[in-house]
Symmetry: C2
Subunit: 471 residues, 2 copies
């Protein structure tokens, strides 16, 4: 795609917008919006706008489009793929939805939440809980991530196995197009077959086709009984057999089925030595199983454990006896990304492969990485979805900086392997800027052509998040 | 949208395709492809092609596109909205996928089925069952409807409440674009965030953006215990209260929650007098509840019934004691559309409204129809999704033909009311040709503009199913 030339967000635009928007829409300090969690990219935006309404978003986009100024739609700033930072080119305008953070309604008859794009995910979870409902989207950054970003990237997390990703939870969106037109498909209907699915075109487009300003989400009944267990298993293949066994007893009542590697447990011991060791020595592999049922979950979990043990799939384990223990087990799982950060990866990958192929992929990946050098590999995550976080670290005692030059080579080996297995180079984190070249390399060429056509149709001046998704 | 002038499927095109395709790809008799179930539209196609592979589909589309000949993608021919018939304009080519009816694989580890577009839905259900899995899409026409048509219209049915519609069940598609290019997004991955969601753009586009040739679908564990009940309830509002009560005991284990009206039962007695009357006199309202659980479903159903009775929501009922009774209760529900056909509706509507608003909508709709004349109204269906089949019939002893002139007026009253309630004029049947004018009238204008742009991008010559969806 040829992006037409863009102009910087200059004083002319600022002056124009000062006349059109209230003072509250202007953020004083651009610095926080020019940083991202991994410190890979640095932004250079000066003008950060925080509109208070859809109309104000439309005003901003119409002005930016007329002036051909790049716009970076901004949610919670938690992207690990650089979707929120434009590191070069004409100075962009950052459009943060943080002031549009109203939960408009929680409908407990229809089980629908209507929210503005700036609502923080954890706030929505809590509002649902207060109404005795479940909003199941759940992941590490949920305390910062906002609805708009989560829909923009089609975020996943631990409960996708049961409830689906952000896309599957969303019933409708309101979005402002590049030229300021407002597209309203903010229905809370469970069934609506009126025309092309432009809601799902907006979802996952990472702010390159429009800016989502509001959304409706499905809510669910809260399971009445919960049981969480950690089970030591011999291999990823055994873990998959255990998942099949668990499904036979709990069906779609399995809320999460997470793989934890011994390397991850080593990293925990290395970086957070005060963490209690639940198994000693640390097993090579274990799984976290989370059941949420309307019958007695603990009984079902005990059956799964006993049958898994008998079948030789489980050698040791712990079943939560109360909610505090359940939270404890999850804390262990959730501490692993933090331990990863403290160790410092050379290259991190958010990949998926067909579930059946996971064990072979893990074996072959380990061999290929070993052939590259004495790296440490922590591969863990959402086994039930075929989605692994597959991160490569320097040998113990070394620093990631010593291996920075190897990053692209490692990434290519892993992504080549993922594609050879029929997998995806971005399972739940999006493309952002990090993976835009790989999408161009590995993507279906006809799909890419049509994506470029759609981009040109929705954003002819190319002002929306330039450089993200499409290179 | 200005559709460029189209040409008829003439002997030049036929001669060209005879040289490119095997004899088996040519259907001898076009007559079955020019009829549709309600007899509203009549087609005039002469050339009916049944390709045996994606490559052959591509050959046909490339030729038709070059010759600017309209193409009607054809599934099972069961559309009630005329999506499968082009009644006027240049003679179209019918492209039936019926020979591409292979189930390529049933993966019981990943729980994914990979199928060609011509697979009949019931065949896929049975193949899943043989592998001890569930393919949950289920509706009256499942014995004829094919995968391509079901995805083209985003079909729904009775189990959407629990498992979602065709869109939510589909993981990936392969599609041939108007000019013969093949777009391959046929992944069976549970998580894949690589670029814009063109799969969902194809799904629900009713063959106007491309021809789906293959798809991957989610499969589910089969619930181990099932219980079906009919419960007599006082009103739609009470039925919703009962649904909430049932959710508290069975959560997302409720596979279906269907509303049945006394008028539907009267129609059954009138047209199929041999049908056993389960309740006498016929109640004004009842619901069919289908539980599929991994604990004992019958016990849970009894609890729901007992608490519903105690709360005054249920006055009478029957709980299935075995699978044969469960099938029997469903047969009653499924006989109602057949009874409707025998009585003969003046106008039928497939609508949805926000679930919370259903009781008020039903009351107001009844009053508005009564104001139009002494019509009989049978309103029934997927209460848990807010989706009603809302059909208007002549007074007893009269024929629909006497009221044919009232059809558009009735439809307008109902659709106006649906839109006033924030509902949808097409919940699960699609737009086809029947509702294309209403989509243009009621749809979000910005969405419609973008739809026209997408149509022009994917099908610049306008050959794909002209007149469907977009007028």
């Amino acid at each position: 795609m040829t992006i037409p030339p863009l102009s910087p967000a200059d004083t002319t635009l600022t002056t124009q917008l000062r006349a059109q928007l209230p003072q509250a829409a202007f953020r004083a300090d651009p610095a926080p919006y020019n940083r991202e969690p991994r410190g890979v990219w640095k932004g250079h935006a000066e003008l950060v706008l925080a509109p208070g309404s859809t109309t104000e978003v439309a005003t901003i986009l119409a002005a930016a489009n007329a002036a051909r100024v790049p716009v970076i739609p901004y949610g919670g700033g938690t992207s690990l793929c650089g979707g929120q930072i434009m590191p070069d080119g004409p100075t962009p305008l950052v459009l943060t939805l943080e002031r549009m953070n109203r939960i408009r309604s929680i409908d407990t008859v229809g089980n629908v939440a209507t929210v503005e794009a700036g609502v923080v995910i954890e706030d929505l979870q809590n509002a649902a809980l207060d109404a005795d409902r479940l909003f199941p989207l759940s992941f590490g950054a949920q305390g910062s991530a906002r609805v708009g970003g989560v829909l923009g990237t089609n975020a996943g997390g631990a409960n996708v196995l049961r409830y689906g990703n952000a896309r599957e939870l969303c019933l409708g969106v309101e979005a402002v197009l590049a030229d300021g037109r407002v597209m309203n498909t903010l229905t809370g209907l469970r069934k609506d077959n009126t025309g092309y699915d432009l809601r799902n075109l907006m979802i996952g487009s990472e702010g390159t086709l429009g800016v989502i300003t509001a959304a409706t989400f499905k809510l669910f009944p809260r399971p009445r009984s919960r049981s969480v267990a950690l089970m030591v298993t011999g291999s990823p293949a055994q873990a998959l057999d255990l998942l099949a066994l668990a499904r036979g007893h709990a069906g779609d009542g399995i809320s999460a089925f997470e793989l934890i590697s011994g390397v991850g447990l080593d990293f925990l011991a290395e970086t957070m030595p005060d963490t209690r060791r639940l198994f000693d020595p640390a097993p090579d592999w274990m799984v976290l199983v989370d059941l949420g049922l309307f019958s007695d979950a603990e009984t079902v979990m005990e059956t799964i454990f006993a049958e898994g043990f008998e079948a030789g799939l489980v050698s040791d384990g712990l079943i939560s006896q109360n909610e505090a223990q359940a939270v404890d087990f999850w804390r262990l799982r959730e501490a692993i990304p933090e331990a990863n950060r403290l160790v410092g990866s050379i290259s991190s990958h958010d990949i998926s492969v067909p579930i059946r192929a996971l064990p072979a992929f893990i074996d072959e990946g380990r061999a290929q990485i070993a052939a590259l050098g004495p790296y440490r590999l922590n591969c863990f995550g959402h086994l039930g979805d075929g989605n692994l976080h597959y991160n490569v670290f320097p040998p113990k005692g070394h620093d990631r900086a010593d291996y920075a030059g190897q990053k692209l080579r490692i990434m290519k080996v892993i992504h080549d392997l993922v594609v050879a297995y029929g997998g995806s180079i971005s399972a739940e984190h999006g493309i952002g800027r990090l993976k835009a070249p790989d999408l161009a390399r590995y993507g279906d060429p006809v799909k890419l052509e049509m994506m470029r056509g759609i981009k040109a149709l929705f954003d002819p001046n190319g002002i929306l998040n330039p450089g993200a998704v499409l290179t």
